[in-house]
């Protein structure tokens, strides 16, 4: 189905995941996760460049709203600024009940793209639940690794603890935000590799779930 994401995605609770709706376009664009950076988003009038994280990477990006359907995506600053006019229309989901998934029809340069937007945490959880089911069947250990650099603030579990999918494991401060890391599946914590105060890099082992 969709692309595999690291099971330890730690994001702002306001983060959204945007995917192209399956089978509506000739290409399967990778889903994009957008989350607010520490700097607050620009107001709706969009006078100053807002900072957001695109898949965890800060980017200067904002929306100029023209009317109910016309927005302009503004990228970059000063002379490097580019404006991309976008037409955005609501779409009633056509197939299946997808709770919490919002559909939009966007038109860019004449291309018609159907996108699905949902809470990133919700999407990640849904994926974990799916993958968790798969992995429980295989009954192998899951190594939980860091996907953003930062500092561990708190560890909520200890080796031997039983955890449920979605349960908080660690709190990591990254990009001036406190992010909670949740269990990708049900399991028993067999090892905790980090403690409070520890600085972590992307890819570092955090803990192992059996």
């Amino acid at each position: 189905m969709s692309s595999e994401r690291p099971s330890t995605r730690v994001v702002d609770p306001r983060a959204v995941r945007v995917a192209t709706a399956p089978a509506t376009t000739a290409i399967e664009a990778a889903p994009i996760v957008l989350e607010p950076a520490a700097v607050p988003l620009a107001p709706a009038s969009g006078e100053r460049g807002g900072q957001v994280l695109i898949d965890g990477v800060p980017a200067g990006l904002r929306l100029d709203r023209r009317d109910a359907v016309h927005v302009v995506l503004v990228e970059g600053q000063g002379r490097e600024t580019s404006w991309s006019p976008v037409i955005m229309l609501p779409l009633v989901p056509t197939a299946g009940p997808a709770i919490g998934v919002v559909r939009r029809e966007v038109i860019v340069d004449g291309w018609r793209i159907e996108v699905e937007i949902e809470s990133e945490r919700r999407a990640a959880l849904r994926e974990r639940a799916r993958r968790g089911g798969d992995e429980t069947a295989r009954a192998g250990p899951t190594e939980v690794r860091a996907i953003i650099p930062g500092q561990v603030l708190a560890v909520s579990i200890a080796p031997g603890d039983s955890v449920l999918a979605g349960q908080q494991l660690l709190v990591v401060e990254a990009m001036k935000m406190q992010n909670e890391l949740r269990a990708p599946r049900d399991g028993v914590v067999s090892r905790v590799a980090v403690g409070p105060g520890r600085t972590i890099e992307v890819g570092d082992l955090l803990l192992v779930l059996e």
């Binding site: 290409i27 889903p31 994009i32 929306l63 919490g100 004449g110 291309w111 018609r112 809470s119 909670e180």
Partner: protein, 525 residues
């Protein structure tokens, strides 16, 4: 200052943008327009615009727009004096023109005998040869496909034409019955296959051989002719940007021709059409080889989709001229004046065909309901279309939904104007060819006039263009959702809206369960 009209009432035997175009000409000339419609088109724009509309059957064309009896009956019932066939459907069916003539009505187009003669491409090729106009090198008689004893003869003929060559259907059009042959080994199978396909498509399995001219430019000449047999050329069009023999972009005049080359080309077209006894309007098609020589291809005995670019450059209303010529008038002063200027056009016009096709998926059809429909306006812009927001593009009919045309002083200015016009165009609900045309309007190769019938395959990368747009669309939709707090607004039992460090509680368990439930709902197993 009332001017007499060519007819009092005219039936338009077509639908979509061309029916709308003809109804406009009727109204400008002071004639009443009668529309015909299938059940799929009961509230279509051409029906809304007509003075009277007659239902002719269910949606399939064979049960509606292709029914000669139903259309003649509608014309008689509505009291129409003439029938304009538009293009496609019955426009080039000699049987239809004959039925109209026999019903005592006027067919707005060439007489049935001329349609018959020129519809046979072999006949047209022989006509060209008789008046000394070079047709694309090839055979002039139908190839003997069922005679094993003549295989050697046809192979010898193919050898003199040279490979690669094309097997083409004498009754053909739209690439049906056509086969490309690269070596003698493939010829017998191509002849048999092409003939079979032509027989099923046109009811005539005659095929012939033609040299493949590549890279070629497709150049055609707009012709008008009156009842005395006088034929004039109104100008030429370049229609080289094609995909599987379907034209995508047309312009007038053809770029890169000198005044002398234009005169020569127009002269060739007039010669063939005069010899064929043309009346009313038609278009003579030519291929231009890389060495600059013109080869006659065929004559289309109808109003062309792309007639508008010639109208813009010449200032002549070709449909209006068609009506007056059908009414028996000699070529008008306006038509003669336009013919006199044809080799030295004052401006440049470009048309792009907006069709309901996906240019990222090899132009596959994309029927559906149009949700948003904003067409360009402003100086030098003409739009011919037959739909509005809320209309359905039916899978039953042609995909063409709008022709966006621009006119400017020269080609560069016309391309700039086209770019601007396409930027103003907004269509939602269905994918159209708009992204392809936006690409053409920005292409350096197109601007340099490097036109050929292979251009689309060599220059267009639909998926790459779509990928760029999809990312912008995803980012815009994501930012919009962030700003409206989509993620924190959606709660389904858990505490999604809490701060990042909110203490966990049993809500996580419910949250996880609701997540699993959502998974099951989305991907039932």
């Amino acid at each position: 200052m009332p001017m007499t009209a060519p007819f009092r009432r005219v039936l338009v035997a077509n639908r979509g943008e061309i029916a709308v175009r003809i109804i406009r000409a009727c109204h400008e000339a002071g004639m009443e327009a009668v529309a015909v419609y299938s059940d799929a088109d009961a509230s279509a724009q051409h029906v809304r615009m007509a003075d009277l509309a007659v239902r002719i059957g269910p949606p399939p064309p064979t049960e509606s727009y292709l029914r000669i009896d139903a259309i003649i009956a509608a014309a008689l019932e509505a009291g129409a004096e003439a029938i304009h066939p538009g293009y496609g459907f019955l426009a080039e069916r000699a049987a239809f023109a004959r039925a109209v003539e026999e019903a005592g009505l006027v067919f707005v187009g060439p007489p049935s005998a001329v349609i018959d003669a020129l519809g046979d491409k072999l006949h047209a090729r022989r006509t060209a040869r008789d008046v000394g106009v070079a047709a694309v090198p090839g055979t002039l008689e139908a190839a003997p496909v069922d005679r094993p004893d003549q295989v050697a003869a046809i192979l010898a003929e193919a050898e003199t034409i040279g490979y690669p060559l094309l097997v083409k259907a004498a009754a053909g059009g739209g690439g049906r019955g056509m086969r490309r042959v690269v070596s003698p080994a493939g010829l017998p199978a191509a002849l048999a296959g092409g003939s079979r396909e032509a027989a099923s498509a046109f009811g005539d399995g005659s095929v012939y051989l033609e040299r493949e001219i590549a890279p070629a430019r497709h150049v055609e000449v707009q012709l008008l002719a009156d009842e005395t047999g006088r034929v004039v050329a109104i100008g030429e069009r370049d229609c080289s940007l094609q995909r599987r023999h379907q034209k995508l972009v047309e312009e007038a005049p053809a770029p890169g021709l000198t005044v002398e080359q234009r005169r020569e080309l127009h002269g060739l077209a007039v010669k063939v059409a005069t010899a064929a006894g043309l009346r009313n309007a038609a278009t003579a098609e030519f291929l231009r080889a890389p060495d600059g020589s013109f080869y006659f291809l065929e004559v289309n005995t109808r109003l062309q989709v792309e007639h508008g670019v010639t109208e813009l450059v010449s200032g002549l209303d070709i449909v209006r001229e068609q009506f007056w010529l059908a009414a028996g008038r000699p070529l008008s002063d306006e038509a003669l004046a336009a013919a006199g200027r044809a080799a030295e056009p004052a401006g440049h016009a470009i048309e792009v065909r907006i069709t309901a096709e996906d240019p990222s998926r090899d132009f596959t059809p994309t029927p559906g309901r149009v949700r948003r429909w904003v067409m360009p306006a402003g100086p030098g812009v003409r739009v011919d279309s037959g739909i509005e927001a809320g209309d359905r593009v039916s899978p039953e009919y042609d995909n063409l939904i709008a022709k966006i045309m621009v006119l400017a002083g020269d080609r560069d200015a016309a391309i700039s104007r086209l770019r601007r016009a396409l930027d103003e165009t907004e269509i939602a609900g269905i994918q159209t060819t708009l992204p392809f045309h936006r690409f053409v309007a920005r292409s350096e190769s197109f601007a340099a006039g490097e036109l050929s019938t292979d251009w689309v395959g060599e220059n267009w990368d639909g998926p790459a263009s779509l990928a760029r747009a999809a990312r912008i669309g995803q980012l815009a939709a994501g930012l919009d959702a962030l700003e409206s707090g989509l993620a924190t607004a959606v709660t389904t039992g858990g505490s999604l809206g809490g701060t990042a460090t909110a203490p966990t509680d049993s809500g996580d368990g419910r949250w996880a369960r609701s997540g699993r439930q959502a998974v099951n709902e989305r991907w039932p197993r």
